[in-house]
């Protein structure tokens, strides 16, 4: 029973992780930007929710749209200021990675200065509740956040699969020149994709705010965690990101439950490292043009 319970908890968290990386993988797919600033954007979203919760008592679940919007706007700003020139080239270079790294430091420093590096978490009423199905115990926080993440991911997948603009996004990520030659305004697609990616980070942030405790500098750890998920599933693929997130989250939960919670994050770091060894080209190599 305990085994089953751990798996269920792992899956709930897995969907939250999947939401966290969905934006990262979308941005990489379209622009070939490995956005190391993604985790700090998630934390920014968490701060938006935190702030709304403290000031207005707004439930973090209800503040998902607000966090998404706020972070998307921040993303548009960053894109215009920093990434526009590089996004247009669709060549992934070390320089763009370092740019996102610098961006991460800037936001980290700013948040830490304004709000300090204390551990925070929003605590809506259900945060400490749980339901029991038979012997299985499921904390409501994990359950709700998992379900909401799943819903958002499904909406995203439907949008990418069936809408005109979604197909244009996928076409652009496959072959930018060809997309332009059938009349796609590639620069606009890049901007919107970046904004969507950031909105996903923001909405993940709102959910993270009551599932994990967060503080600005925590994003360094999350960089490696999120990277391991996308690298496992294949960079740029949404399905891959979801699968990667679920698999690693469950493994990590198992390690945490049956070995030692202290080592559960090690699963992500080791996975990231090992995948890069087994696939020397990196799963990044799959989608070069």
């Amino acid at each position: 029973m305990e085994f089953l319970q751990v798996i269920i908890l792992g899956l709930c968290l897995g969907f939250v992780y999947a939401l966290m990386v969905s934006g990262l993988t979308l941005i990489f797919g379209v622009m070939r930007i490995v956005n190391l600033a993604h985790p700090i954007l998630i934390i920014s979203g968490a701060f938006v929710s935190y702030w709304l919760f403290i000031k207005l008592g707004l439930d973090p679940i209800l503040s998902v749209p607000a966090a998404a919007l706020a972070v998307a706007l921040l993303g548009v700003l960053l894109y215009k200021l920093i990434f526009e020139k590089n996004a247009a080239q669709q060549t992934y270079s070390e320089m763009t990675v370092l740019l996102t790294f610098g961006t991460a430091m800037v936001i980290d420093g700013l948040l830490a200065f304004l709000f300090h590096n204390t551990q925070r978490t929003t605590s809506p009423g259900y945060a400490t509740d749980a339901i029991f199905i038979g012997d299985i115990f499921i904390p409501l926080a994990q359950l709700y956040s998992g379900i909401i993440s799943l819903v958002i991911i499904i909406v995203l997948a439907v949008f990418l699969k069936y809408s005109e603009f979604g197909i244009a996004i996928r076409a652009t990520s496959q072959n930018r020149t060809s997309a332009e030659l059938v009349g796609v305004n590639v620069k606009f697609v890049c901007l919107i994709s970046f904004a969507i990616g950031c909105a996903l980070a923001g909405s993940a942030g709102a959910l993270v705010s009551f599932v994990f405790s967060f503080f600005p500098s925590r994003h360094w750890e999350w960089i490696a965690i999120l990277m391991s998920l996308v690298v496992l599933g294949g960079m740029g693929s949404l399905t891959g990101a979801v699968v990667g997130a679920l698999v690693l989250s469950v493994i990590s939960s198992l390690v945490g439950a049956f070995y030692s919670p202290a080592w559960s994050t090690m699963v992500f770091f080791l996975a990231l490292f090992l995948i890069l060894i087994i696939r020397p080209m990196g799963l990044f190599g799959v989608r070069t043009d």
Partner: protein, 242 residues
């Protein structure tokens, strides 16, 4: 009479590199088919890229239907009615055939018109209709080629620029491809064709344009170019040895 497209004194090149196309001028009338031939490195592909907007010309003007389109974005030029089929097969390999066709019609804002154009493309290329759900990249070379040319009929541009359509194709496919090009030409779309296979290209075209070292060498009706002994030796080389 003003021509549909006129390229005036265009100079173009890549990055910080040297000029590839020098001071090049060419004009194209409605439903005209011109074939640009010339040795490797003559700047043929570069010229097409400059017209399509993928490469910004360094100087000169490109006038399309009386409008100066120099320096516009590629997607804007495309929406005005100039379609460019680049050397590499311009399909989206991981999209399905249906999605590829939807992308072809992306620039058509009128939904019904887009639907009907896609329908028309199926009539032209029935194979595509049978494989709507297939991932485009897994089709055979010939089928992918059909998908590329389906674009021309879906979009119905005024001009279509085709870069090296026969490059790297099996002989049977070359035949098929030139049939597609003839179909396009006969539907009243003007064509600029860049081709290594000079005979095939010229046979399909009304005019032959000879380009060398980035400059216009001369322009003549295609059959005259084919007849010209001197030219054969100079530019067509062994390809048409008797």
């Amino acid at each position: 009479m003003t021509s549909l497209l006129s390229i005036r004194n265009v100079t173009a090149g890549y990055g910080y590199g040297p000029d590839i196309v020098h001071d090049f001028s060419l004009s194209l009338n409605e439903s005209e088919v011109k074939c640009i031939i010339g040795p490797n490195g003559a700047g043929k592909s570069t010229l097409l890229k400059a017209v399509a907007g993928i490469l910004k010309p360094r100087s000169g003007e490109i006038i399309f239907e009386g409008e100066n389109i120099t320096g516009k974005e590629a997607y804007q030029i495309m929406r005005l009615g100039i379609c460019f089929l680049p050397q590499e097969r311009a399909i989206f390999p991981n999209l399905t055939v249906a999605e590829n066709l939807r992308m072809c019609a992306y620039s058509i804002k009128d939904k019904e018109l887009a639907e009907s154009r896609i329908e028309a493309a199926f009539e032209m290329f029935p194979v595509l209709g049978e494989r709507l759900k297939q991932i485009a990249g897994t089709m055979s070379g010939g089928q992918q080629q059909q998908l590329v040319y389906a674009r021309a009929f879906t979009i119905k541009p005024k001009i279509i620029l085709i870069d090296e359509p026969s490059l790297g194709l099996a002989p049977a496919l070359v035949e098929q491809t030139f049939n597609h090009i003839k179909q396009i030409a006969s539907s009243g779309i003007a064509v600029i064709l860049v081709e290594q296979n000079a005979i095939k290209g010229l046979q399909t075209s009304g005019y032959g344009v000879v380009m060398d070292l980035g400059r216009l060498a001369f322009e003549k009706p295609a059959n005259e170019v084919l007849q010209d002994q001197r030219l054969r030796e100079l530019y067509l080389g062994k390809a048409i040895k008797k």
